[in-house]
């Protein structure tokens, strides 16, 4: 065993290396730094006239990693759209930050923080704010699904605990993209790849076991199944929190102690930040196991209780979590303005014999770092004993502007904090040209629309997620007012969730949307549609359309492929247009690149995938609206026009022909007006239930509303407000954004008509779905039969 009471580090000569040798060194040490980056590092040390230590190189690699620095989103991109060249000077500044800053000017009292902290904040009421953060944990989940997803959720919960001076987590959402569960083992084109079923089961259980043990309800989510995700599953974990507004601002000052709390430090999770900034290979399944952390939710529950108690006593000046990059990232961030000294030997270890760099960058879970005044320490120690968590004096801020790391008396790292954060800016190339329409996978005979509806209700995109939802405790904390499952038997779908916030007159809505199928051919349209769908869900469940905040989480394949980067550029453009039009600010976000895998038959990339998640303020519990039909004899209304086009729709996967040439258009300004009018009706108590029209179109939306088990629907689709020339397919299964199906009691119909709702039918005692169009009966089926198909779609696999 190596000596456990001295620093273990070495100097690495780089000043005299050639560019190629530098790159080779980066690869050998798995730094994920490019040749340009390594040259910049070399210049830094030539200037300082010394050689770096291994600790310093690891710190720089972690700090400059794509995961931590988002260098692609800040890159200068030369983009060619259909032959026309343009320069995008930072995707983040142009299409994310600028949007939020414009909206911020209009809503200064609502937006209370964006982009700077671990989560963005918006006002809930006079004294409280709510916040949301979503992270991805794709690479770890691909090679170790249970642990990867487990720590993915654990990590984002810590982001909330580390938001402001500590926010209380009150609800989680989880979104997954998997390969189809019925893919044949023989169709996997690389060895050691885990079958989508194994990924799905592991990921769901990982999320379940962290969320349930933490006592945070998992109330919202989505799952996409597609061949493109077989080798690169995506795992998005999000958590929302609540915090007193007075506890949002935080600052580290010279003299503060940096106290680490929670779990011990070990060899698990080494180089996660740099690992996730490279592509996966077959070797990843063997070599990168130490990059995946090991979760212990009870350790996190203890530190969470401790942090919230310490915050309430006013003992915390600043807090953040140890995520990617571990102490290096947490202490580095906290000391990035003022500088300070770190003593690695003070950190309690899981096992002896860790080298200096391992202690500093280990991503062992369940650790938080606080900045506190010296006199607060005795009280913190008392609280730590009460909640059975461990504390250590990790560092002290000193105003020196240098990050000095000591290990048993040796100075193992000494970096200027400003230089450390000056990563070279990337210059990249992107291009985009809309590809041709694809041929259908399966040719459906359109002789029976009822059969088509059954096929679509049984598609993996649509089928009930109930078997998975049931494994998540979505009721813990006792505040889940609008639950993920509803209806007379508690098994019908819901558009979003609404959570009561203890002590507040207002509630918080949560929603999320992603449409990767549309993004394959039209990422710009996808960007717009995804923002709309999230906004629409929040509005549908009762949130005020003028008090919403959203998050953008991107997953991209190979950013060095111009076409893939071009798709990302187009997607961010579309997303920015809709967010600005809706006045829905981005308050946080994240990106994940290199989601591609080199199989025996070449690289497989994911399509550019944008998850937009959001929170909204629901003013009163009486405004909460579910997606399940409630009464017999109500009017069934459609709000929002149906347009031509089937591109990107679920139906589009099965048929070719009329309407496939483009995705349906919509107008955000008109949509926002409708959402405001809808919200007016909600406040009057005129709305019984509302379902957003999304994947599967109107046919699926109507069927799903009837899955409440309380009534059937009889409707005449000729009355659906639709653009001239729409086909039956477009009316029934088209996925024009910005539409709602609404159940209104007869006595409120006058107000509903004035607002612009169009009656297309009514709810019937007979539990039957009967839809006519142009004199023909299109859909004629019992609700029970349709529901059985929808409800059982995942049960053979989960």
């Amino acid at each position: 065993m190596s000596d456990t009471s001295q620093a273990v580090f070495r100097h690495i000569p780089i000043r005299d290396l050639s560019a190629d040798q530098l790159l080779a060194l980066s690869q050998q040490m798995k730094l994920s730094l490019s040749k340009v980056d390594m040259l910049a590092v070399q210049a830094m040390y030539q200037e300082e006239n010394r050689e770096p230590t291994d600790v310093e190189l690891e710190v720089i690699a972690q700090t400059w990693s794509e995961h931590c620095k988002h260098r692609i989103f800040n890159a200068k991109i030369k983009h060619t759209l259909n032959g026309e060249e343009e320069v995008v000077d930072s995707l983040f500044k142009t299409y994310v930050k600028a949007v939020t800053e414009k909206i911020w000017k209009d809503k200064p009292d609502f937006i209370l923080g964006a982009f700077v902290d671990n989560a963005g904040f918006v006002r809930l009421d006079e004294t409280r704010a709510v916040c949301l953060k979503v992270e991805t944990h794709n690479h770890p989940s691909a090679i170790e699904p249970y642990a990867g997803a487990n720590t993915g959720l654990g990590g984002v919960i810590r982001d909330i605990l580390g938001a402001g001076k500590g926010a209380k987590p009150i609800g989680s959402l989880d979104v997954f993209c998997f390969g189809p569960p019925d893919v044949k083992e023989s169709d996997l084109k690389a060895k050691d790849v885990i079958h989508p079923l194994g990924i799905m089961r592991g990921v769901v259980r990982g999320v379940r076991d962290y969320g349930n043990r933490m006592g945070i309800p998992t109330v919202n989510g989505a799952i996409q199944f597609d061949d493109t995700y077989i080798y690169n599953p995506l795992v998005f974990c999000g958590t929302a929190g609540v915090i007193p507004i007075s506890d949002i601002a935080k600052e580290v000052k010279p003299g503060h102690w940096l106290i680490a709390a929670g779990g011990r430090t070990g060899r698990d999770g080494l180089k996660g930040a740099t690992f996730s900034s490279a592509s996966l290979t077959t070797d990843s399944h063997e070599e990168d196991q130490t990059a995946v952390q090991i979760g212990n939710p009870i350790e996190e529950k203890k530190v969470a209780d401790f942090i919230l108690a310490a915050r309430d006593k006013g003992l915390i000046q600043f807090v953040t979590d140890c995520g990617a990059g571990g102490f290096s990232s947490a202490a580095g961030e906290m000391l990035s303005e003022v500088g300070g000294e770190v003593w690695l030997e003070n950190a309690p270890l899981k096992e002896p014999g860790l080298e200096s760099w391992q202690v500093f960058i280990s991503e062992s879970q369940e650790r938080m770092v606080m900045a506190v005044e010296e006199e607060a320490i005795p009280e913190l120690e008392r609280l730590a004993a009460m909640f059975e968590t461990e504390l250590c004096r990790l560092a002290r801020a000193d105003g020196s502007k240098r990050l000095k790391v000591w290990h048993y008396g040796s100075l193992v790292c000494d970096l200027h904090v400003e230089k450390l954060h000056e990563a070279p800016r990337r210059e990249m190339l992107a291009r985009w040209r809309s590809p041709a329409v694809k041929e259908p996978k399966v040719a459906l005979k359109p002789s029976s629309w009822t059969e088509t509806l059954k096929t679509i209700l049984g598609d993996f995109a649509i089928v009930s997620r109930e078997p998975i939802i049931r494994e998540y405790d979505h009721e813990v904390q006792g505040n889940t007012v609008l639950k993920p499952l509803a209806g007379a038997s508690g098994d019908a779908p819901q558009d979003g969730a609404v959570i009561r916030v203890a002590g507040s007159p207002h509630l918080m809505a949560m929603g999320c949307a992603l449409l990767p199928e549309l993004g394959k051919t039209d990422p710009h349209a996808m960007g717009r549609a995804v923002v709309d769908e999230c906004v629409r869900q929040l509005v549908a469940v009762g949130a005020d359309p003028d008090r919403l905040a959203i998050l953008d989480n991107f997953c991209v394949g190979n950013p060095d492929n111009e076409q893939e980067l071009g798709a990302l550029v187009e997607c961010t453009k579309g997303m920015a247009i809709s967010a600005l039009a809706y006045g829905a600010p981005f308050v946080s976000g994240k990106d994940s690149f290199y989601n591609y895998f080199v199989t025996d038959e070449g690289p497989v990339s994911i399509p550019v995938t944008l998850l937009v998640s959001g929170i909204g303020i629901v003013e009163d519990a009486a405004h909460v609206v579910g997606a399940s039909l409630r009464h017999v004899g109500s009017k069934i209304c459609v709000f929002g026009p149906t347009k031509r086009g089937l591109r990107g729709s679920v139906l589009g996967k099965y048929v070719s022909g009329c309407g496939l040439e483009a995705p349906p258009e919509f107008d955000e300004a008109e949509a926002l007006e409708r959402y405001r009018k809808y919200h007016g009706l909600v406040k009057q108590g005129a709305i019984l239930s509302t379902h957003d029209v999304s994947e599967g179109g109107l046919g699926v939306a109507l069927a799903e509303m009837a899955f409440s088990g309380k009534a059937g629907i009889r409707a005449d689709l000729d009355r659906v407000p639709a653009e001239a020339g729409c086909t039956a397919a477009e009316v029934l299964f088209g996925e024009t954004p910005a539409r709602l199906v609404i159940e209104v009691a007869s006595e409120h119909m006058e107000a509903a008509r004035q607002a612009g709702l169009v009656v297309i039918g009514e709810s019937t005692r007979e539990k039957w779905l009967h839809l006519t169009y142009a004199g023909n009966t299109l859909i004629d089926a019992s609700v029970a039969e349709l529901k059985a198909i929808w409800k059982s779609g995942l049960t053979p696999y989960y």
Partner: protein
């Protein structure tokens, strides 16, 4: 006003909403981290509550470590507390802890027949003439949510049927939920002052907590009446 003491283990996570429900029913409630627990804590309370959650992670038999630590800290003091007229309640993980304390009829809580964690609402019915104070304000049939992986009651052969007959099992599922023997959802001792159940009454405090917005079974959620019944019995 009766005082309720909620013992919080590392991993207990339903303490806040259980305290809220107790306060709504008239109790004063105190959440006590187990690190601060000693025998004297029982002197200031009339009701000891083991709330839901995953004490110590439940990685070994659920509730086992919490039970051992409680036994170590309190010894026979909890038994004496009950014998002297005190009340004890275990909900979900709390029931799993309480079931190992020799305060309830002998039974074990094992993995659900499905082998899965489940979060859903379940129909429940009261059983027997020996009405628990916790159930006294509730109708014969009602609903509550459950959320557990290990909620299936098993006993030595024949015991479960005996509990149903004698009234030691005062709460039964109205449908097969987790494979529980005789459909047992809750158990009480001979005095009725010790009660353990898998469903979560604290999660149905308000009418709006029901999954169906048209639910009109009562003025408040059924969980309110659960705690109110206990309050009435203890203040009668």
């Amino acid at each position: 006003m009766p005082h309720a003491l909620l013992i919080k283990f590392p991993g207990t996570n339903c303490d806040a909403e259980t305290a809220r429900a107790l306060e709504a029913a008239g109790f004063t409630a105190e959440v006590l981290p187990v690190a601060l627990l000693d025998e004297s804590a029982l002197d200031r309370t009339q009701l000891v509550v083991f709330s839901g959650g995953f004490s110590y992670g439940d990685y070994v038999m659920s509730g086992r470590i919490a039970q051992l630590i409680t036994k170590n800290k309190l010894g026979d003091r909890l038994r004496k507390f009950v014998d002297d007229g005190g009340y004890a309640l275990g909900i979900c993980n709390g029931f799993q802890i309480l079931a190992q304390m020799d305060l309830l009829p002998k039974a074990s809580l094992i993995h659900n027949a499905s082998g899965r964690f489940m979060c859903r609402w379940v129909p429940l019915k009261k059983n027997g003439s020996k009405v628990s104070p916790f159930l006294s304000a509730l109708p014969e049939q009602f609903e509550l949510p459950v959320a557990h992986a290990e909620g299936r009651v098993v006993t030595m052969a024949g015991d479960a049927a005996g509990y149903v007959k004698s009234g030691l099992a005062p709460l039964l599922y109205g449908a097969d939920v987790n494979g529980s023997t005789e459909g047992i959802a809750g158990l009480q001792d001979e005095t009725g002052r010790v009660f353990g159940l898998m469903p979560h009454p604290e999660r149905f405090l308000f009418k709006a907590d029901h999954y169906d917005p048209d639910w009109s079974g009562a003025e408040q959620g059924w969980g309110y009446y659960f705690f109110k019944g206990a309050f009435e019995a203890m203040t009668a």
